[in-house]
Amino acid sequence: MAMTPAIRRVAWLSLACLCAFPPVAWGQDAPRRGGEIRVATYGDPSTLDPHVTTDVPAIRVRNQICETLITWDAETKESPMLADSWESSADGTVWTFKLRRGVKFHGGQPLRAADVKYSFERILKVSPRKTDYSMIKEIRTPDDSTVQFVLSARSNAFFPALAMYWTQIVEASSTEKQVRETGGVATPNCTGPFKVAEYRRGQWLKFVRHEGYVPRPEKSSAMAGARVAYADGIIFTFIQDANVRLLSLQQGEVHYIESVLPEQVEQLRKLGGIDVVAIPSTQWTAIYFNFTKGWGQKKEFRQAMALALNYEDLNRAVFYGTGKANNSMIPESQAIWRTREHARMHPYDLEKAKVLLKQIGYNGEPIDMPIPKETVTDLYGQAMQAQLAKAGINLKISYMDQAAQIDLIYSRRRNQPPPWDLGFLARSAFRPDPDQHYYTRAHTSAHVGMYSNPVYDKLVEEARKEPAFEKRKALYAQAQTMIMDEIPLIVIGNSPHIEAYSKKLRGVEVRDPHFDYFWNVWIAQ
């Protein structure tokens, strides 16, 4: 379409104005090197040794300094990190990884295949998750940039397990020296974009830029792709109290606070100069039924429970609506594994629940549910109690600390039958492969309430062995259908992940308690 002279004049004038007076944001939004990002975290990492701990505070800080062979992109798809490429043999028992060239450890040493071999051999020796890697029969290093994992049998669990945080690669000789001299790894010599500068246990931890770091060439996508350390460093300060974290952000003592309480979100949104992001996390809450005694053995009772709970209301009552009502073990953020079956919810139908309870002759007998005494779990307990009471279910809550509650819920690991009626799981951990949910939570060998269904077992065993992605996906959709119909457990929903930060911080992407990172983040002037 031809422009009239008048329109052309206006266009030229506008362009001239823009050049003469550029919007302020133009200058500010360009990534800028320098400054220290100050982050308030809720917990001191138990250790910086990548191989001996699985706790979230440790993972969150360690992700900034250590890297794995492969990692996850924004769709939770496995992507290259220290490994550039990989291939598996036709029978799936030999996996060959080509390492990225030019990678340097914080100590200046080049990454070699021997470091990968050392790291995995150490994992197999000291990691609490070492049995996840028990399929590894041998690790070969044909040359300095090639690593071969020989497995005892094909395993779908192997490849995704290489992206887990506890498989971060450390330099062999300096790590071995630290272990020999101090019995542990206080300063991991890894390859990440930041490195440890100083650590005052219980107070703060300072990282500085790893100057020898060369970002990957791919575009950044969640944990995958280019990682650029714009900031000179990151200082993690440990502030356990959520209110004090908030005050510290308000006062400008820190740029970023993690684990904001749901009730603080509105207050923060009213403050100027602060962004707050509240998204559903990958962690879900669930209740297990006991199949060795009591009402949980009756399918009608389990169905009535599922119908009597209003999941949206629970999300509102516990998380002020910042979480996500969800009856599937696969959260929405793990989109590649989700099917229509995973989006299906138990309907809220109080009348039907009452009919089912009447059918089995339930007359308000107490249903025991031990829960850990924490603010969130307490709210969950009270809200569920009120909802179930409407259907006539008499939920009795017993409070204890988390360690005692977990001990009670997982009594079958001590070869004792579960003593409770309902087993409350406060939060699951992020697991990338559905096997780590559907098998490890509901298979006969694993369900904490001793649920056993040979049909379900066969389904998840088949899915564990099936090499084709689409077929596995279909099998897990079937497993989800069975979980919804049989109800060995009810997934209630996903807790929120809420973080807040100064508007001075640019490039922040809030994703998950396990995925927060401060590369590609800069401090605007």
Binding site: T53, V126, F238, I239, L247, Q251, A404, D407, Q436
Partner: protein, 309 residues
């Protein structure tokens, strides 16, 4: 010296009781380490690698043997030596306890003396109101109030954190002032009430009447004769307070981000980190015995009759 030697059986008894008690409490550290999705095989592996699959008496012999060699073991979670963590944290708790005690004594003794010496309806009511408030207000409320007023609004102190004394007295004091005042004010209320009541009791004694009859000045009677006699229970209370302040500052330590012993011990208990709980309680019990010893020695300084006894 005899008192110090008497510490040895106390140590042994405390160590043994703690060892048994932490294992009797429901809760399994292995399940916390393994995570809720761990398999039975993983749980078994971890238990075995930590030596927790051995019979309790064997665990006890191993642990006690190491303790006698000065090795308190390593945390089950961080695998760091417990002794090193304790050495890092004890000075912080000690500094907080002593600073808070200093604040409480500085306020409580003059306030208690004043309340006992100048008795009238108004001052008694005011004293009762202030001290009861001090006793009733929880330490985290006092801490948050001070934080809001003096840090957030007035900007006089940092909100939280800790600087060791090695970085200089002024930076140290800037971080320590608010927790010490918050904690000290609460302790001051009890000490002030105790000072007032014991002083009133002593002021009614015959020897005070005699002293007054001798024509001694009022302040001499009050400070030289009455207060000195009234101090014994007050010193006992302060001594007990130091112990409580040293070990029970969890809330204040958490609120102000002080890397002290209280928060460390509570985290250890919540995680069932046996070596940390055992090590910390052993250390605390030793400290308390030593404080009691110190208080006994102070009695002798205050009351010469005890020296002769």
């Amino acid at each position: 010296m005899r008192r110090v030697v008497a510490l040895v059986p106390i140590w042994w008894v405390v160590a043994s009781i703690v060892f048994v008690l932490v294992r009797l409490v429901p809760g399994d550290p292995v399940l916390l380490i393994a995570g809720t999705d761990a398999s039975a095989e993983q749980v078994r592996e971890i238990r075995s690698s930590l030596g927790l699959d051995l019979p309790v008496h064997e665990q006890y012999v191993r642990w006690f043997g190491r303790l006698l060699r000065g090795d308190m073991g390593r945390s089950l979670f961080s695998r760091e030596p417990v002794a090193r963590d304790l050495l890092d944290r004890v000075p912080v708790s000690l500094q907080l306890a002593l600073s808070a005690t200093f604040v409480s004594v500085l306020i409580a003794i003059p306030a208690g003396v004043l309340a006992a010496a100048r008795r009238n309806a108004l001052s008694e009511a005011a004293f009762a109101a202030v001290t009861m408030t001090g006793i009733c207000v929880p330490s985290f409320v006092m801490g948050l109030l001070l934080m809001l007023l003096l840090s957030v609004y007035a900007g006089l102190f940092p909100i939280r954190g800790y600087e060791p004394l090695s970085q200089g007295v002024i930076p140290w004091a800037r971080y320590m002032a608010l927790p010490a005042v918050a904690y000290g004010l609460i302790q001051a209320a009890g000490v002030a009430r105790m000072t007032r009541s014991t002083l009133l009791e002593v002021l009614g004694e015959d020897f005070i009447r005699t002293a007054r009859a001798k024509g001694l000045a009022g302040w001499v009677v009050l400070y030289k004769h009455a207060l000195r006699n009234a101090l014994i229970p007050v010193v006992t209370l302060i001594g007990l307070n130091v112990g409580v302040l040293f070990t029970g500052a969890v809330v204040i330590e958490t609120l102000f981000g002080l890397p002290g012993l209280g928060a460390f011990l509570v985290t250890g208990i919540l995680k069932r980190d046996y070596p940390i709980v055992q090590g910390a309680i052993l250390f605390i019990s030793t400290f308390l015995v030593l404080v009691n010893l110190g208080v006994d020695l102070l009695y002798r300084g205050i009351d010469p009759r005890l020296r002769r006894a």
